[in-house]
Symmetry: D2
Subunit: 456 residues, 4 copies
């Protein structure tokens, strides 16, 4: 996720902001959670960077702190002095408005400052933010501290986004040496074997009219979810669950990775050039006749056929849909399957009253769970992000806020595709129907899965 950061609320002011006291409690809670996520890792684990798109854990811990220091303390703390002036450059991600920055692909080379210094940096900024919230200085222009509250809220959402990235980045790192690479101490339990005939893919009919899209209720949202606006949605059907590992393995067995007719042209280029033949973290087990293994945050183990397929690119998701539509898969004919648009996805989530469902989501393991059987739309949240066919683009009327923080609101709105929902790595409370995640079509290191749709 290349993070959108400006809350639309800054302009519209229709929702009550949380109090500073409430925010202080959230702040303490969320900041602690970042430390808890890093706790199982060694200093070395925290320092390495496995590719330019990923960042070291230490960098996530520092950058989220930098965000509070730069955008809040620097403005609101009287007598502000930086913890270390060099950090302004070292831990700036991409804000040209803030000034220079350390080159992204070289984040793993920053062995100094070391992890203990970063921990001290976090503690110092936490303490200063705490003090500020206890006794915010008097701002003539903002007596209710709304600006402070909004930036704090944004900083916390920002930190939550990095919590998910921390997990997907460390998973990518550990995958280079999977024999030694569990993040979580516990093993991943096998899902109960589904009875034969059970669990066939079901469909829900939706659409056929003007639908409102975008954030509409109370509470925080990012600016890219706004403005709420109308879209006409032709009738369509939405798959009740995600595509499973069992189903995706059948695609592989049928030669799906070897048939150019199933792939978008650019996807086929990637398949050939990078020699893709399975999802990112699948491995063949040389000692069990090539049976599939999967590397998860719980270590390397047998592939669980009931869980949803994950760590696939948009290209693989689309090729799977094409293959199913081609009628060559065994089993029921599902017609002209395809990926949903983001409007269709949001329409389905609204229909499913998904927000309520989310409350019940269990964050037991750091891997997507098998679908429950039933005739409800399921697995919208807390399992896998779901690729849509929609490119990431501004909603009608979208515009960026002024100043450094809003400087680049839309600058990622090109050649990226929207994912909807949330994943097993998403922090609790960080999901909603209107949330727009986005990555390039070839990205595979997020918990991305496949939701199917079809026109009627």
């Amino acid at each position: 996720m290349q993070r959108p950061i400006l809350p639309q609320r800054m302009r519209t002011e229709t929702t009550p902001l949380p109090s500073l006291r409430a925010l202080a409690a959230q702040f303490a809670h969320i900041r602690r959670r970042s430390l808890a996520l890093a706790a199982p890792l060694s200093e070395e684990d925290c320092g390495a960077q496995s590719m330019a798109d990923a960042s070291p854990v230490k960098w996530h811990l520092a950058h989220t702190t930098w965000f509070f220091e730069t955008f809040i303390l620097e403005t609101y703390e009287s007598g502000f002095r930086p913890f270390d002036p060099a950090f302004r450059i070292l831990f700036n991600s991409y804000y040209n408005g803030v000034g220079a920055r350390h080159p992204r692909p070289e984040r793993g080379l920053l062995t100094r400052p070391g992890l203990p210094t970063i921990m001290a940096y976090r503690a110092a900024v936490d303490e200063r933010i705490g003090a500020l919230l206890e006794a915010p200085s008097d701002h003539g222009a903002d007596p209710t501290h709304a600006g402070l509250a909004r930036l704090l809220q944004l900083g916390l959402q920002h930190e939550q986004q990095h919590q998910e990235l921390l997990l997907t980045d460390v998973k990518h790192l550990l995958s280079f040496n999977p024999a030694m690479g569990a993040y979580a101490a516990s093993a991943l339990p096998a899902s109960p074997q589904a009875p034969a005939g059970h669990g066939a893919l079901g469909w829900q009919r939706l659409g056929g009219g003007v639908h409102e899209i975008g954030h509409g209720g109370d509470g925080f949202c990012f600016d890219n979810e706004m403005p709420r606006h109308r879209q006409f949605i032709e009738p369509f059907e939405f798959a009740r669950r995600l595509v499973s590992n069992r189903e995706f393995a059948a695609f592989i067995e049928a030669g799906g990775y070897r048939d150019p007719a199933l792939w978008l042209a650019e996807g086929w280029d990637l398949v050939c050039r990078q020699q893709w033949s399975h999802p990112l973290y699948w491995r063949r087990d040389p000692e069990r006749d090539g049976k599939w293994l999967e590397f998860t945050l719980h270590g390397l183990g047998p592939l669980d056929p009931e869980r949803p397929v994950t760590h696939v690119s948009l290209f693989e998701a689309d090729a799977y849909a094409q293959w199913l539509a081609s009628g060559h898969a065994a089993g029921a004919d599902h017609g002209a399957t395809r990926l949903p648009t983001e409007a269709e996805w949001e329409c389905a989530a609204d229909a499913a009253n998904a927000a309520k469902i989310t409350e019940l989501a269990q964050y037991g393991h750091l891997h997507p769970h098998a679908a429950a059987d039933g005739d409800q739309i399921s697995q919208l949240f807390a399992d896998c992000w779901q690729w849509t066919s929609s490119s990431y683009a501004p909603y009608p009327g979208f515009s960026a806020a002024a100043g450094a923080i809003g400087e680049y609101n839309g600058k990622f709105m090109i050649n990226q595709y929207v994912l909807r929902g949330s994943s097993c790595a998403t922090p609790p409370g960080h999901s909603r129907n209107s949330y727009r995640n986005f990555f390039p079509a070839g990205a595979r290191w997020q918990f991305s899965g496949i939701r199917l749709a079809r026109s009627v």
Copy 2:
């Protein structure tokens, strides 16, 4: 244009097809036009390939012929024998269903067969197609010859697309040595100087409801224009003309190519990496104080400030809109300018009754013309293709036809953006409101210009 090729009509059958006699006349006319376009060029000009994205003129002449031979003669001619069996591979563009193909970046290395052989190939196929249309063999399954007619119609549209590419590809080639590089014998006349205060950018209000998008009337269309479907379009305003060279030069003077705040992140990377500082074919004149020159198909000459800016990428178009929206441009405040979506563009073209306007378009020169003054929407067709903010994606309900010809209908529907309208290089009769051209956001060698819009 990576060509969409399957006519939706194959499935829907709602429009009467032209008669074989009428098609034979069109065939002769269009095929002759390709030869006329190549006539000013030497054998060497016809053989060279300036980049992987462009093809040699000779290859265009051969590939369009291959299309008729492979998809029509091979099916409909009794006793078919190929002109040369090697051509099946050499002149296949991207149809895996037809078999192997010569690598695209090596098209310029095919000095054999030489241009005279290709001319003989064209003549032979033309004669055989002529004979076939005179006396089509009896197809029990298709007594009205509808299949033949449809494929012929498609082949002609395909050839027209390549006529435009032939011109943009040869322009790109000649630009490597601009001192010697005119394609057209005539010089490009200067536009009359606009009087002061004249020609300010005007806006037309549109939208605000459900609009039908996609091909709806009689006549040919490509499959990607179908199905016609409904979209809700929020109210917006549409610029009455294209952005001019004068206006774009002001953007350059104001440092537009040096300010990252104006650019999409990926565009800024391109600006830095490829050191963009002006549209593709602008040059500084070292002997006239660095005044702008422009290389056109009519040769290298002074930049005409009244003509529309052309050969810009989507990134440059978007940065220009951002700059204008930022309020730093001299003159009137145009508000939050942006690029239109393709639905907005089509809505505007429908409102302008643009098809009728097209009839009047003058194809006098191979370069876009200055806008006429007035309060009508102008320059929709025959000047520059217009970048939209819409990624190239399937319309709801789109599906590909069976067989080799339809094999890859949607395979380019990723990481490409839609351009609407047509250009000075588009063949007469090859434009319509629903036409969808598409290129990657960084492409600059087409006649692509800037149409602005804004939300209201």
Copy 3:
């Protein structure tokens, strides 16, 4: 060959120069030969460039003419005016001292000026050189016209070097479409089958003392062949003939391209990255059980086992020697075979009185010939250039001349390796024992073959 160009004679003045009259005759002869080499080719053949390392035939024809115009006419012709001022840049190869130059990888894009213009350029310069030699203007500083004679001699040697490159470059181009790609009208005859037991590799013992290396006799030489100097050569043995296709095919059959133990580390990287599995122009014949074909300037035909293997890199030559040394080849044990140093090669050529042999060489075909049986050292000249293990480095005391022409004498003396001898594509009279050709170790498009040596 990245051409060394400054004749040592400029400094040493020990050898009589040819008269202007004699040079005029050579000039006419050599210049005509370039046209004869281009005669079988179409304009398209002459314009294309198959890779950055190769140049179009047209460019060779123009650049050699540019050399005479720039370095001779510009200095010696009174009232000099350039044929076309743009050519100074377009046809400069790498002389920064002369000014800017057209980028090397874009030589194939120069469709203008066309081939007829280049032919006119050649004719005009030939005529002006002819006139100059008839009546050289009076140079006070050089009454005997020695400077003029030396530059003319150099220009002719330079043109001969380009004659060889013209052939190897056009061979590379035509190889992209081998079915249509013969350069020569005649077919290549098969060599007589060698009787069994015939033609075993023989060895000649040499060395064991101080030997003089470098050009020593009369006649022209390049500066890199000078100064003649002493080297101590340990005793060694020199193979009497080149490695044959039959022998190299055995290396392939034995898995030579799949065994990293035989390869220099950088060579193995190339084998893997470029998937080398045979010499550059060998092909498997799908219709004859995968039997080897070879593409030659005479077209595609069965591999002739008796002819020397050619178009191999230094890496392949070295790997072959390692394989033979490893004792895994069938047949006689040849001991610790390796490539010779260039000093060893020159020592062997001197011992063989090779210059005299060269006189007898037959230039019947544009492909290396099978070795004659016998106990003499053979195939030193006129078949394949022979890789040595010597990096291209200055001889002790080497120094570059002043001025533009000598500006870069040694600038290629890094990461290139010396080849000795000459090839079937070398012009008659352009060979000598001290001649140093040089290419990067991975180059394969020259007529480069394998001469073995071993220490004793």
Copy 4:
């Protein structure tokens, strides 16, 4: 240094081997020194890899241990069991004969096993080697334990080579964040300012006959130093000291990095592509009028003009020599300066009786020292490695030993150039006149400096 590893002694057996007891003492001493070198570094410092050519400190510590485990314990320890079977792959550098290996550019991603595990690995192998040397098992074929002694000696030399690499690699890493990057606790003292007119470059005349090259005396050498053989060396002069920072700064001021006439063609490409304008670790000080700083293992400080220039490529060394030869430098005319050949260097070292000098070298700081004034050849050892113009090639009669350890003896003998001497980072006792270090001509991260020579 891509390490040559096979001691020629294995074949020649002319020198007495150290006793196992003596080797045990050396083993303890050298192994401790590696730990001492890593002691100032954090776990994070030890884990990072700054480029593919460099390795993490942790990897050096593990790989040197792997060498003893794989080549000694596996052969000589009865009941051998590996410390961890996975290490066989993880810490193999390039021995295909040993089997698979972890990809070199991904060494920095091996956060597991962590540094504490590697320390335990070292301790375990040290203990087992110690036990083995106390009571070597009875080898019928080798009652004197010569094989064991030789491999141990080789392992220790190998570890010493990695000690130097450890320092140069960590220097490269820390240079990415120079403000925080000192390795050594102490600062580097300034050299005493040389009095005016003092310290001019002096020359020593040498050569002019047959000279023996290669290892000849007692003691260990690598196989690439053998066989000792004869070379004829033309008379030459050898600079008595290295080029200083002051002198190299004058080259920069004179535009040396901007004049293509001074550079080898491939060097000029690097200068342009990588925008070289100074030695690797020089920086301009923005707060002192752009005065030069140098980053050393002692931190970032003012450039010391008296110390030798270091961290230059062969290209920069050669360009400096060309510039001095061009006569444009201020001061004395030194004639046609150039780099020495490796034979000339060894001849000079022999003449200087350099081995004895080495004994006196002071390893006070981890940076090269200013030259002492005098008329002796100085700075041969313990300051900077010295580029020669000699490509790294086998000596006449060189041949590789059998088995995995000798598998690739010569595989780096291509496109690398020899450096002679030793540096401030070379372990004490690891220098000799015949030692051949080698790197690609563009490498700059070693302590490489400039020794000049000239022909007479």
